[in-house]
Symmetry: C2
Subunit: 363 residues, 2 copies
Amino acid sequence: MNLRIGWVNLNQLITYRLSYYSKILPLKKPITIKDLAKSLNISVATVSRALRNSSEINEETKQAVLKLAKEMDYHPNLLARGLSSKKSKILGVVVPTINRQFWSNSISGIENIAYQDGYKVMIFQSTESFIKEVEIVETLANSRVDGILIAFSKETKDYAHVQQVMDRGIPVVLFERVCEELETSKVVTDDFFGAKKITQHLISRGKNNIAYLGGPMSLGVCKDRFLGFQSAMTDAGLNIPAEHIIETEEFTFENAKNGIYQLWNTKNKPDAIFCFADILAIGALDACKELGIKVPEQLSIAGFGNDDTSRFVSPSITTMAQPSFEIGQLAAKLILEEITAGNEVTILKKEVIQPTLVIRESS
Amino acid sequence: MNLRIGWVNLNQLITYRLSYYSKILPLKKPITIKDLAKSLNISVATVSRALRNSSEINEETKQAVLKLAKEMDYHPNLLARGLSSKKSKILGVVVPTINRQFWSNSISGIENIAYQDGYKVMIFQSTESFIKEVEIVETLANSRVDGILIAFSKETKDYAHVQQVMDRGIPVVLFERVCEELETSKVVTDDFFGAKKITQHLISRGKNNIAYLGGPMSLGVCKDRFLGFQSAMTDAGLNIPAEHIIETEEFTFENAKNGIYQLWNTKNKPDAIFCFADILAIGALDACKELGIKVPEQLSIAGFGNDDTSRFVSPSITTMAQPSFEIGQLAAKLILEEITAGNEVTILKKEVIQPTLVIRESS
DNA sequence: TTGTAGGCGTTATCAT
DNA sequence: ATGATAACGCCTACAA
């Protein structure tokens, strides 16, 4: 035991491997309600009722069943249960990635509500890939989950895969990354007003030459935030020169830095910048340090999302806080409503949630 | 449509709700292989074979089946498939939280390997709760997943729930937060040497009065990192006064700040600090700013984990990079090996992965 | 290559 | 309150 066998190279990492012991999977046959029934000389139906504490059962027999079940180490087979009952008590969630606070927080919100109603949550990430998203949605549907919550990948422009699932009678709720085409309940952030509000804040700080750094306008969220920004500028009678609008395909630290370098090469330098997401704001901040630009004196920076990081950097970043946990909760509530309604009429709702302004040092 | 109904107060957020349209779930009965068989006047067995492109089937009939399946919008019922085949092609993953880079990255690593073999991954978070962890593991087992990957919650000291699942014949692999008691394959970071290495780095920078800021020693990882730290100090003939060892129950920004304030109140002030995790290092850095402590001149700071944030703050944080993605990949490989082995002998392995030193401005 | 039939573990619908 | 028994949708010997 714990005998060192040798050195192994794993993706350029030195790893050492300790051999343990060998193992063979045990192949005990699982106990079923049939076994319980036989042992107690009663029918499987009765056992089944006892296990789901149905109303129509004698208290004593029920206790006897439960006792034996524990003794014999019985565990229900959820596949069989689902197959026969047509209910899984499972919600499926599809998000672009779990590796960002907004998404992981909203998932926590979903779980929070789901668990209260005895639902489990299956999480899948599309990794911003349309093909993978389609696969996942299909798998989820084929696994007979009771409902599916989706935030679309960046690539997703076609919603047939979701429509198809809806046609199969599976409730769907969209959140954050939604679309107009589908007739479902939706939960979104008010991106337009959020962007407008934070832009107005910058203006109120005396800035009047504000640039925009964001993602592709083809993505709904990006467009909405830009429109909000634009609206605030227009309302204030301010102009947005074309070279002050920078679009990056991906939201990365590095792209943001490049954006600032690009901006600082124009002869009409901005005095503030509104970034589509916090990660961009943080990249912008880093570029400013390299270029010796004083924040916020020379350039104010504003982000969106209120990621933890926006608080930790220095100067800390002014941003719009999105209530991600609550968005998840709300989405879960909506889908549970629909599930509960079953074949009754449900009212589809669109919930638009207001982000809140968090003023920090960068403005 | 789009008729505004009213204002709703959700957790102190102003939300407005747009009524959409009402909806009734359609209740079409799903197509089954039986339906396909009937339509083609062949047996269900043949259809089944065609769908899983078994070798023993005529190419023409197979094509006919596939064509009809598409036409009739057939979708396999995974519950039924799993029930009868006893294979789900699903891996279950249990992590403390998905809301931290290390965990979300390792999940991505797991998915990366799993998808190559046609496995899907079900993600669950225990939220550091033992009870929830037990529930999840039980659910996973009852859902007949093909294997379970677990990183224990902080609270978990008793491993009966996992042993039980193993006894049921379900392969289990532990990663990162593991235990000695269970006879499974395991993948861990070399915390001892990682901590030792980064401490030695601090020493090589001329620091000789290094403090430690970390979690409860009851948690294996915490202890290992502390021991590595201690070992480096001892090797260098350096002393660690008791007041330079600070334990925090939770790894938060605020706790770390308090730790630094506490340290700076002792008369023997340290000239460097090794923090158990990056988030603590970042908190420490913030406290330094508030206290006017120059980093790294007066106090060097080192973290562990290489979270994105450690790169974004200024000065950026020296840290140990844990190859989280690779750890996930490895864990997935190990469990797939075990699954594939089935009732053959498997060799259980313990893989110890070396973190790498990332030197940045804070040292 | 195809068909028959039994089984997977549970729930649901009848009776009793 | 309990028991038979037929689904649920698919897989898999075994037989043809």
